[in-house]
């Protein structure tokens, strides 16, 4: 057991350290770095989904005044291959998906670069493409592991037999759509290649991770690459791994030695080049005895990946760990298609994987004649059903009860379609929520005493909007035993100590632990007589408790939904999330994280749907007017609460990670509320007006 850090600054609702810079717009994001005489890069994308480029006609583009170079597979600088097919751009004429990079124009102005890119013509040798995701395919395959490195299939007992024997069963197929992360700041890189090496101002969730990814592809020593990201306009996973454009920026910079080049993807380009969440098809089966105790849980998942690179979303994982049941089964099967490369999106696995099972639980509750909260409480496991390990802490039941109390759940009518107010069918729904505590050893941080007695804390972490600037300051203050005003943070630069990505809700765990280690070691080494300039770097070892406990955050999401009786319009007047997610370092920024996740969950429930046109092989609604994300008017009352949770095993701060859990279960709660409102069961997202009309 670790001794938990005593909270002084932690727990306070401090204003954001980077707040004033952001509200005025003075904070400079990647593309906004002041650079001298930049050149601009505009990508050229494939317009077929499979085949090869026969010839590229670049004459018209190259002839345009102000065009510096046109990059094509014929003339692009060589890259080292065999590392990451997504990043090995312009090395061959093969086209693996529509929208793939096949070239780029470098020009004096963005207008010229874009115009010239439009003048580049490609002749293709087309091959028939295959982009259809279906559970009926006979070539679905079983990946070795699912993201990040979890078993593909798990099983225990006999789910089929349990279903045959059970009093109550649910067996249905649920689907989630294809989703695009769409951070408000488009992916952008400013690159400079000179004698000193390569400098990348990148909009990224991890400076070191980008460097690790691009160094081998570029055949450069890591030390020759510097990645900087002080302010990042959101990522939601799509900036957690390197995508093709960062390599394109580097190649362009290599072509223009000594001159900075600027590349920002357009919103449209982001739909094929910056990752997305695979659509999922979930065959969920539940069985329960007369008292509503689960005897079986199964989720058989079918989803897609790209032909050139595998990403297997761990959609079945939540069914492994949320409820007790003697018979269990989860599987993942993939179709490898001629589609863009899927990747992380906020709560990969948990987010889609809590839709099917949590709607199925609602169906089961009805079948059992039980309140949906009560059904969940009855199936609380003693230990982690997946690993058999005890939970380091778990309070799903507390969240359900506290949520029910705050939400006014007891006033709920039993039967669906019972309440109509001013022409709107009104109902409520609930779903559980969970997200694992991820941690990675090897994070480092430096603590240095400054001349004026204040401390500098250096770590290569990135704040993508999570509040890291602020809460790491608070953690450092408590670890050093000084007021937060005496801590100055340096973030977002590979010149700073090694830190993993802002992803997996693990930032605070990894970075905070490193800072605590460094602070403690600093105090140990220098005691009370530290002098200006004294510094110490510490690196986090693996958490010794990781093998002894299952570590997860839990939550309960409650939704009220209205469906217009005439038009079918769907509104969510109320959302409440109650979470048990360890210690909350800063209630102000934490609340924002929770409600932000819940808002994205609402958006997923009601709006988001990347429409993939199989004839062409791309997402046709590829902009923010057609791919709807929730707007201000869609979000009425959203409340996030948390339970005090003391967990001495997760890390010295006692935190569990809060960036993702807010999106988990929200869509199920909303779909369940829509059912309660109307009696129409929606198993395929999104929950749109047309589904309530006939």
């Amino acid at each position: 057991m670790t001794e938990l850090l005593r909270p002084r600054s932690m727990g306070q609702a401090r204003e954001r350290v980077d707040g004033a810079a952001k509200v005025t717009g003075r904070a400079r994001y990647a593309f906004e770095q002041p650079v001298e005489r930049p050149a601009y890069v505009h990508p050229v994308q494939a317009t077929i989904a499979r085949g090869r480029v026969r010839t590229m006609h670049t004459g018209d583009a190259a002839a345009l005044d102000g065009v510096l170079t046109v990059l094509t597979p014929d003339n692009a600088p060589l890259l080292a291959t065999g590392h990451d097919p997504e990043l090995e751009i312009l090395q061959s004429p093969e086209v693996a998906f529509r929208g793939q990079l096949i070239g780029a124009v470098i020009a004096e102005t963005p207008e010229t670069a874009r115009q010239a890119a439009g003048l580049v013509r490609a002749d293709y040798e087309r091959q028939p493409h295959d982009v259809t995701l279906s559970p009926e395919r006979d070539d679905l395959y079983r990946p070795d592991v699912v993201n990040p490195s979890l078993p593909t299939d798990t099983g225990q007992g006999d789910v089929d037999a349990a279903l045959r024997a059970a009093e109550h069963t649910v067996a249905a197929t649920y689907t989630t759509a294809m989703y695009h992360n769409n951070p408000m700041e488009p992916h952008a890189t400013v690159a400079l290649w000179d004698e000193g090496g390569l400098t990348l101002h990148d909009s990224t969730q991890g400076v070191h991770a980008m460097r690790e990814a691009v160094a081998p592809v570029l055949g450069l020593d890591k030390e020759r690459i510097r990645v900087i990201a002080r302010y990042v306009g959101g990522g939601f996973g799509s900036k957690g791994t390197a995508h093709a454009h960062i390599v394109l920026a580097a190649l362009a910079a290599k072509r223009m030695p000594g001159r900075p080049v600027k590349l920002a993807l357009t919103r449209q380009q982001m739909f094929s080049l910056a990752g997305y969440r695979t659509p999922t098809i979930q065959r969920v089966r539940l069985a329960a005895d007369a008292a509503g105790r689960l005897t079986a849980i199964g989720n058989d998942v079918v989803e897609q990946t790209s032909r050139i690179k595998e990403f297997a979303e761990q959609t079945g994982v939540p069914a492994r760990t949320t409820y007790a049941a003697p018979n269990r089964r989860t599987t993942h099967r993939l179709a490898a298609l001629d589609v863009p490369v899927p990747s992380w999106m906020r709560a990969p696995g948990e987010c889609p994987g809590m839709f099917g099972p949590e709607v199925a639980m609602d169906e089961l509750a009805e079948d059992c004649g039980l309140d949906p909260v009560e059904l969940r409480v009855r199936n609380e496991p003693e230990t982690d059903p997946d690993t058999g390990l005890p939970f380091s802490s778990r309070d799903l039941v507390g969240c359900l009860h506290e949520g029910a109390r705050r939400f006014g759940w007891q006033r709920r009518e039993r039967a669906p379609r019972s309440r109509i107010e001013d022409g709107w069918w009104t109902g409520t729904g609930v779903a559980s929520s969970t997200y694992p505590v991820h941690s990675a050893p090897g994070t480092s941080a430096t603590v240095r005493l400054g001349r004026d007695g204040s401390f500098e804390v250096l770590i290569g972490a990135v704040d993508i909007g999570t509040g890291a600037w602020t809460i790491l300051t608070q953690i450092a203050a408590d670890a050093l035993g000084v007021p937060a005003e005496d801590v100055h943070l340096h973030l977002g630069d590979t010149d700073l100590p090694q830190a993993p990505v802002a992803g997996g809700s693990s930032g605070t765990t990894n970075w905070g632990t490193a800072i605590v280690e460094a602070a403690r070691s600093f105090r140990e080494k220098y005691g009370a007589d530290a002098g200006p300039g004294d510094e110490l770097i510490a690196t986090v070892p693996a958490n010794p408790h990781s093998d002894r406990f299952a570590m997860r955050a839990f939550g309960a999401q409650f939704a009220e939904v209205r469906v217009h009786a005439a038009t079918g319009e769907v509104r969510v007047p109320r959302l409440l999330g109650v979470f048990a997610a360890g210690r909350i370092v800063n209630p102000r920024t934490a609340r924002s994280q929770f409600i932000g996740g819940m808002t994205m969950g609402l958006s997923m429930a009601l709006h988001e749907d990347s429409v993939f046109d199989e004839r062409f092989g791309f997402v046709v609604n590829h902009d923010l007017a057609e791919y709807h994300i929730a707007a201000c008017a869609d979000v009425e009352s959203i409340e996030a609460q948390w339970l005090d949770e003391h967990d001495p095993y997760v890390n010295p701060m006692g935190t569990k990670g809060i960036g993702e859990i807010g999106i988990v279960g929200t869509a199920a709660a909303i779909a369940n509320a829509a059912y309660h409102a109307t009696g129409v069961r929606i198993r395929d997202l999104p929950v749109t007006a047309d589904k309530f009309l006939d």
Partner: protein, 330 residues
């Protein structure tokens, strides 16, 4: 975007002469649609003639009792205009239901009328589209068609016109004042936009170089009780799935007069003449409303993704008329 010349028009005659004389010239309003299309490569004018500084930026009362709205009046100013709000609330509501506050501050009356379809294939030059390139084929016909037409389409094009304002103007029997090289004319708003037929590349009946100078609203007392209802996928900042503009005049327990236009269902704002005819003289009852709506939609031909528009348009129309009737009777 290709390079182009920009000129600020000094007067309407000059603006018309300049654009009429150059097949690759275009008028520029707020630019919220034209510049969008230029960025996408959908429009490639060589010369833009900016008409926003012309003295067409006023809303004036007409001697006969109507209103004359200058073509350069911004959508936000028009929506806030006191005469419009009091006498033609359906128009204010339609404008306020469109785009966003910061776009309405730029968008002009003329530009709003002539904005082009939001069909995703039309906006993407890498997919075939008859409206953009006649003869290429229509990608929406068997593709993504959630936002497409259920009435009056052809196999050449199934797009809808996206303007909310135009739907209200159609219900109000507005006229569009147009100045061309050969003089001025008035086109009824209902006749301004075309059905696609064999030529979806022509959105409207205007000739190249014809400038919209104003929109005229006739005196229409019944419009003081009018309403716009827009059904969309987001609660705000989204184009219509279906919309209804309606005005109702009741007297002595029957419908004396009624105006209805539907949005989101056709290549043009759809004046619901069949429903209007069915309702004139009928009692203001829900089943009458429903029967009228069904008559209007009887010929609807849904596509793969938009069958829901038929019940949605029907129900929305019934509820708008019921609300208006309820208000009148109160």
């Amino acid at each position: 975007m290709i390079p182009f010349d920009y000129r600020r028009a000094e007067d309407t005659d000059g603006a018309v002469a300049t654009v009429a004389g150059n097949p690759r010239a275009a008028f520029l309003g707020g630019g919220t649609n034209l510049v969008d299309h230029m960025k996408l490569g959908v429009a490639e004018p060589e010369l833009l003639v900016d008409v926003t500084r012309l003295p067409l930026d006023r809303v004036d009362r007409l001697p006969g009792g109507g209103l004359r709205i200058g073509a350069a009046v911004r959508n936000s100013d028009l929506a806030a205009d006191h005469d419009v709000r009091e006498r033609y609330p359906v128009l204010s509501q339609a404008l306020l239901a469109g785009a966003s506050g910061q776009l309405r501050n730029l968008a002009t009356t003329g530009g709003n009328l002539l904005q082009r379809t939001r069909c995703v294939y039309f906006q993407d030059v890498t997919t075939p589209c008859n409206k953009r390139e006649p003869g290429q084929g229509c990608s929406a016909l068997e593709g993504y068609s959630r936002y497409h037409a259920v009435l009056g389409a052809s196999r050449h094009c199934v797009a809808v016109h996206p303007s909310d304002m135009a739907v209200a103007l159609t219900a109000l029997d507005a006229g569009v004042r147009v100045q061309g090289p050969d003089g001025e004319r008035t086109v009824a708003v209902a006749d301004l936009h075309r059905l696609p037929g064999e030529h979806p590349e022509w959105d409207t009946v205007l000739n190249h170089g014809e400038l919209i100078t104003a929109v005229e609203l006739p005196e229409l007392p019944m419009a003081a009780r009018s309403r716009y209802r827009k059904v969309r996928d987001r609660a705000s900042y989204a184009f219509a799935l279906v919309s209804v503009a309606a005005a109702l005049d009741l007297s002595g327990g029957t419908i004396r007069d009624v105006r209805i236009a539907l949005g989101g269902v056709a290549h043009k704002p759809w004046r619901a003449t069949l429903a209007e005819a069915a309702l004139r003289g009928a009692p203001p009852a829900a089943d009458e409303f429903r029967a009228a709506a069904e008559a209007e939609l009887a010929d609807a031909q849904p596509l793969r993704d938009n069958g829901f528009k038929v019940p949605m348009a029907r129900n929305t129309l019934v509820s708008v008329l019921s609300e208006l009737a309820g208000e009148e009777l109160r």
